[in-house]
Each structure stands twice: as structure tokens, then as C-alpha cells.
């Protein structure tokens, strides 16, 4: 259908049907939570899971399998990278919901509907970011992802720790958004367009004003670094991981990282590839700082949640090594391998992080919520399944051979060495070795520290045991059989970003 006087054709809604469905389900959950009886509140959880399953089905059916579809005047891009990352997002959010179901019912009894609605709005934001074709959509998606999370952090209203974390996160996050918007405006000024692929074309035809664009790039990269929690923009990470309700910390530590990775790939590789020399140098500084600070500061932590926060800083640094080493002397030959290594690293990290917080959520009250490492003492006896899973996840994060983390680190390092930066690879290995200390300490505390007096066995529902074990097993198996996921990462990138 075309309207002649505005030269406007009605857009094709089909590529975005998953987003539309999720939005519909959000409204449905809000209405249901308004009218539903107190006893039947469990339905909300099922509705939220149904939203994710439906979205996954729609993403699969709408997928063009290797083609790049654009809709809404180029604002929306549906390609294979978007499909794969969206499916990963649904999976992690669904895990989040399963793990935190009992926690939410116990800790946030009044705000259950809001918890599910806000988390799904954040999911919608991630989906928008992942398949954005324009800087405007990227920015709106990023806000849609962050705003509900600020509110979720503060949802536990009687906790002053949560209020402090929410305030810090909100103020710093608003600052980062402003940075990012300023950077985008500079890039708009330099190239005269907001369409991501048109930005790249503008540079290749030598129309872009390079100096102004690099100036904007500085702000854009700092915004990305803030959202990923890279040093020196990491101040919020430990406080938020520690202060937020556990289920929300679980959410923050996993799925949003996938969306921000997609943001970085779309902006830096799709849009600003002509400036790769410049952003490579900026990212390099961030990567080295994050790996050093994250690993060294994590050693000193006595709180498991803070330790995971510093570990996430170091992991995000390691993950970006792939993006840094994609370009060799302006040649993008190594790009697909390097970026797919990053993507593999990210996906396995997200799975491990969700699992680690999942185990914490399932621990009984004082131990899980406070997250003190001493509270994990004797977990091997109190709950063998939880302890075994945690051990697997810690081994994987430390990069011990034949767990997923090892293969992820290995493939990123191969890309770094292929790019010829041996010192960078050596540095990464060194900091990983430092990191192994604090991961293994957790295993030691769980299995070899004496049980505290009066400690009882932990009762976990059978279904949760199965889920936790499956999560740990997935991390272990991905290390032995990484090929399938690696193949998907390479294919999805070669059919979309590098098509």
C-alpha cells in the first residue's frame, strides 16, 4: 500500500513480528497482573515464558536464513546475526525467569507483575538493539533496555543497598547515554546520515569529515565501554551486582551484554569500519585496563557477587580482544574469525554467568542474598548438585582445559596471534592465570572448607536441580564439542555483517 502524497509505502511488518509479539505480551501481563487473584499469581511466570517461547518461534519462522531483510525505511535489520543473538537472549532471559521464580515470589511479592513486565521490556530493548539499522533505533533500543533495569534494581524498596545501587546505576547510566548521544550527533554532523550502512558508504566515498567523526567516536566508544562495564567505566558494576536483588543481578550480568556486543559490532564494524584504526586503539586501551583491573581487584573480594562483578569486567575485556584483532593493517581478512571468536566467548560467558548467579539465587536466604564467599563453605556437602555446577562454571570461567571457557579463550587468542600481537596474547594469558586463582578459591571453599555449625542440607526442588545441572553440563559440553556453536557464529556473521 503506497500513499502518493507522502511517498510512503506501508512497511513490511513480518520481519519484526517477534518484537510486536513481545510488546503484546508485555501489555497482556500488565493487564493480567492488574486483575488476577493473589493466589493465581504464578500464571504471570507462565505468561512471561510463553512470550519468550512465542518470540523464539516467530524469530525462527521469520528468519530469512542467510538473507538480510530491512524494514521500516532501513530502521530495522533482520539478518542471521540478529536471529542468533535474539535466540541467545530469549534463552538467557528464560533461564533468568526459571531461576528467580521462587526468589521473586518470596522477595518481591507485590511487584511480581511489574518484575516480569519490566524484564520483558528490557528484553524488547535488547531485541531492538540487536536488529537496529539506524543510530536512532540503536539509541532508543538502548534506552528501552536500560530504563527498566534501573527500576528493577530499585524494586526491593526496603533495602537501602538496592536504592544506593539503583541511584548510582541510574546517574552513571544517564551520563553514558548522554555521551553516546553526543557522539552520535557528531557522527551525524560528519556524514550527514544516521543510517548505519550509509555512514560507512559516506566514508568510502570520502565525503565524511574524519576528524569530527573520530571526535564523536571517542564518546560512542566510552558509551559502549560503560554499558559493557569496561575499565575505566566500570565503577557501577560491583555496586550494582552487589546491591541489586539477586534475580536482577542475574539479569544484568547476562543478557544485556549480548545486546551491547551487537551494538558494538553494528556501529564499529558495519558503520565506522573506515575508522577502524582509531577505534582499535581506543578498544585496546580499554581491553588491557579491564583485564588488569578486573582480575587483580577480584582477588581481594570477600563477597562472591562483587567477585563476579570484577570477573565480568575482565571477561568483557577479554571478549573485546577479538574485535581489536580483527583488522590487520586495515585488512579485514581476519575479521570473521576474530569477531566470531568474540561472539563465541560472549555466549559461553553469558551462559556461565547466568548459571553462577542462578546457583546463588537458589541458595537459602542469608547465604545467597548476602553473597559472602564464606557462606559457600561446605556447599559440596550441603547440596552436591549446586556445588558441582558451580565448580563446572568456575572451571570454565578460569579457562581450564576442556570446559567451554577454555575453548573460548583459545579461539580469541588464536585471532590475537593471527593479528601478530604476541605481547597482547601473552598479557591475556598472564591475566587469565591470575584470574584462575580466585575461581579455584571458590571451589576450595565449597569442597574443602569445614561446614559451619548448624548448617543444614539445602532443599532444592527437583526441577531446579535438573535445570542447574543442565546449565553446568551445557558449559562443560560446549568445551568438548564447540564446533556447532562456533559454526553458527561464523555463519551468522558471514551472512550478515560481512555479507
Amino acid at each position: 500500500m503506497i500513499f502518493p502524497e507522502t511517498r510512503f509505502a506501508l512497511p513490511d511488518f513480518q520481519p519484526a513480528c517477534a518484537e510486536i509479539f513481545v510488546l503484546f505480551m508485555i501489555c497482556l501481563i500488565l493487564m493480567t497482573s492488574l486483575f488476577i487473584k493473589e493466589k493465581a499469581r504464578g500464571t504471570l511466570h507462565f505468561l512471561a515464558q510463553a512470550a519468550l517461547i512465542g518470540a523464539a518461534a516467530l524469530t525462527c519462522t521469520a528468519s530469512g536464513a542467510g538473507t538480510v531483510k530491512r524494514a521500516f525505511s532501513g530502521m530495522f535489520v533482520a539478518d542471521m546475526m540478529a536471529d542468533l543473538l535474539k535466540l541467545a537472549i530469549y534463552l538467557t532471559i528464560s533461564l533468568t525467569f526459571f531461576y528467580s521464580r521462587a526468589y521473586v515470589a518470596g522477595k518481591l511479592p507485590r511487584a511480581r507483575g511489574e518484575y516480569y513486565a519490566l524484564t520483558l521490556i528490557a528484553t524488547l530493548g535488547m531485541m531492538v538493539v540487536v536488529s537496529a539499522g539506524n543510530f536512532v533505533t540503536l539509541y532508543v533500543g538502548l534506552e528501552l533496555l536500560s530504563l527498566p533495569i534501573y527500576a528493577l534494581v530499585a524494586l526491593e524498596r526496603d533495602s537501602s543497598r538496592a536504592a544506593e545501587a539503583a541511584m548510582k546505576y541510574f546517574v552513571l547510566g544517564a551520563l553514558a547515554s548522554a555521551f553516546m548521544l553526543y557522539g552520535i550527533s557528531m557522527i551525524y554532523g560528519a556524514t550527514g546520515t544516521l543510517d548505519i550502512s550509509a555512514v560507512a558508504e559516506g566514508f568510502s566515498r570520502n565525503r565524511g569529515d574524519r576528524a569530527t567523526a573520530v571526535f564523536g567516536l571517542v564518546f560512542l566508544v566510552s558509551g559502549i565501554a560503560f554499558k559493557l562495564g569496561l575499565a575505566p567505566f566500570h565503577m557501577w558494576v560491583p555496586d550494582v551486582y552487589h546491591g541489586a536483588p539477586l534475580s536482577v543481578a542475574l539479569l544484568i550480568s547476562s543478557a544485556p551484554k549480548i545486546a551491547v556486543f551487537a551494538f558494538a559490532v553494528r556501529v564499529l564494524i558495519n558503520g565506522l569500519f573506515p575508522l577502524s584504526q582509531d577505534w582499535r586503539a581506543m578498544l585496546l586501551a580499554l581491553v588491557v585496563l579491564s583485564m588488569a583491573l578486573g582480575n587483580l581487584a577480584a582477588i581481594a573480594q570477600t563477597n562472591f557477587r562483587r567477585m563476579l562483578a570484577y570477573s565480568s569486567i575482565s571477561h568483557m575485556g577479554f571478549m573485546l580482544l577479538g574485535l581489536v584483532s580483527g583488522v590487520i593493517d586495515g585488512n579485514a581478512k581476519n575479521m570473521i574469525n576474530a569477531v566470531s571468536a568474540s561472539m563465541f566467548y560472549l555466549l559461553t560467558y553469558v551462559l556461565s554467568s547466568a548459571g553462577a548467579f542462578g546457583v546463588l539465587v537458589l541458595l537459602p536466604d542469608p547465604d545467597g542474598d548476602s553473597g559472602e564467599i564464606s557462606g559457600l563453605a561446605g556447599l559440596g556437602k550441603r547440596s552436591p548438585v549446586l556445588a558441582a555446577t558451580m565448580m563446572t562454571l568456575m572451571f570454565s570461567m578460569a579457562g581450564i582445559p576442556f570446559f567451554a571457557g577454555f575453548f573460548a579463550k583459545f579461539s580469541v587468542l588464536v585471532a590475537v596471534v593471527a593479528a601478530g600481537s604476541f605481547w597482547l596474547a601473552a598479557l591475556a594469558v598472564f591475566f587469565s592465570l591470575v584470574g584462575a586463582y580466585y575461581y579455584l578459591r571458590i571451589v576450595k571453599v565449597m569442597y574443602f572448607d569445614p561446614l559451619p555449625d548448624g548448617a543444614r542440607n539445602i532443599e532444592t526442588p527437583f526441577s531446579m536441580k535438573v535445570l542447574v545441572a543442565a546449565n553446568g553440563l551445557a558449559v562443560a559440553l560446549l568445551g568438548i564439542f564447540p564446533n556447532a556453536l562456533m559454526f553458527l557464529c561464523v555463519k551468522s556473521l558471514s551472512f550478515s555483517v560481512f555479507a
Binding site: 510512503f8 511489574e114 521490556i121 533505533t137 533500543g141 527498566p148
Partner: protein, 200 residues
């Protein structure tokens, strides 16, 4: 110097002055009023750029509602300005150093780029050109997708505000008229059957 250039520099000077006063004034009400002044000068600059719709919206939305809200909040909250200023003097040298470094760097980039560009490069539109129409057309055609998403951002705001402030149902003493009408005498008065007392 052309008159337009003069107006631009005048408005910019007022804008910078007002913005600086917003940060430095002791009295929060005065600071909010200076914010109004800053918005007005910014909208004047937009008017110079022929973005009259945005200029009007800036005045209507920011001056008309946002600042009023600021004033309400400032007047209702009991903010101890002196406590907020704790550490101001201590941290000022570092802050000033970083800020001047940033400004110098930014100025260096921009001065080499734009020195000599006095007039904006944008085309001058004819008198029949309507800003409102053009923005409306773009919002509802090309930018329809982010525009709709912005509405979800607003929904988030509503849900978050309710979730963070609503403290359950208040126990109020209102009555339901239909129940009042159908009430029977027996429900209001308890009739007791007492054996009559005998006179001695």
C-alpha cells in the same frame, strides 16, 4: 558583522551565563529560574536555525512543564544546600583541571575544523516550507518505528513509577452505595431478647 551573527553571539552569551549560574547558585529556586533563561536562549538559537517548531516545543515542554516540576520538587524537598556542597572546594582543582583539558582538546578539534564557517551550511528554506508538516511526515513515515518504541519507553516510565511508589491498597473508609441501599434493619440493629425483669 551581520545582525544575525550578532543575535547568535548575544543569545549564546546569555545561554552560557545562565547555564553557569544554574550550577553555581546557592538558592535552588534561583538556579531553576536560570534554567528557564537557559532554555529560552537555546530556543532563540534554534529559531535562528529556522527550526521554529523545535524552538516552540522547547519553550512549551521544558519551560512550561519540566521547570515547573523542578520548582515543585525543589520547594517540597528540604534540601540542605550546604551539605550538598561538601567537598566542592576540595574536588574543585581536579575538576577544573580535567574540564579545562577536555575543553582545550575539544576546542582544538573544532577550531581547526570550523574556523571561518560562520553561516550554517544548511540550505535556506523558502517561506512556504513548513517545519511542522515536515517533522510530522518524517515521524509518521520514516521514523515510525523508533517513534512507536519511544511510546514503549513512556510505558516503562509509567510502570516503573507505579512499581517504585505504590505501597499496596490504602485501607480507606469509603462505603458502597448499593450495599447501603440493600441493607436490612436486622443487619443494623441487633435485637436482643431479654427476659423482663420482675419488680420485687
Amino acid at each position: 558583522m551581520e545582525f544575525k551573527t550578532f543575535v547568535f553571539y548575544f543569545l549564546s552569551a546569555v545561554l552560557l551565563y545562565a547555564a553557569a549560574r544554574v550550577v553555581t547558585l546557592r538558592n535552588p529556586v534561583h538556579a531553576a529560574l536560570h534554567l528557564v533563561l537557559a532554555f529560552f536562549s537555546a530556543s532563540g538559537i534554534w529559531m535562528l536555525l529556522q527550526a521554529e517548531f523545535l524552538a516552540i516545543v522547547l519553550v512549551l515542554v521544558y519551560v512550561g512543564s519540566v521547570t515547573v516540576l523542578f520548582l515543585f520538587v525543589v520547594m517540597m524537598l528540604d534540601i540542605d544546600a550546604n551539605r550538598m556542597r561538601e567537598g566542592f572546594r576540595k574536588n574543585m582543582p581536579l575538576g577544573l583541571g580535567v574540564a579545562s583539558l577536555m575543553i582545550a582538546e575539544m576546542g582544538f578539534v573544532f577550531y581547526s575544523r570550523f574556523s571561518g564557517h560562520v553561516e550554517s551550511a544548511a540550505r535556506q528554506a523558502g517561506p512556504e516550507y513548513s517545519n511542522v508538516k515536515e517533522i510530522g511526515r518524517l515521524l509518521f513515515t520514516e521514523y515510525a518505528y523508533p517513534f512507536e518504541l519511544a511510546s514503549v519507553v513512556l510505558l516503562t516510565g509509567v510502570v516503573a513509577a507505579v512499581a517504585l511508589t505504590l505501597r499496596g491498597k490504602q485501607k480507606n473508609k469509603s462505603v458502597d452505595p448499593s450495599e447501603q441501599v440493600f441493607v436490612k434493619a436486622g443487619e443494623r440493629i441487633r435485637i436482643l431478647h431479654m427476659p423482663p425483669e420482675k419488680m420485687e
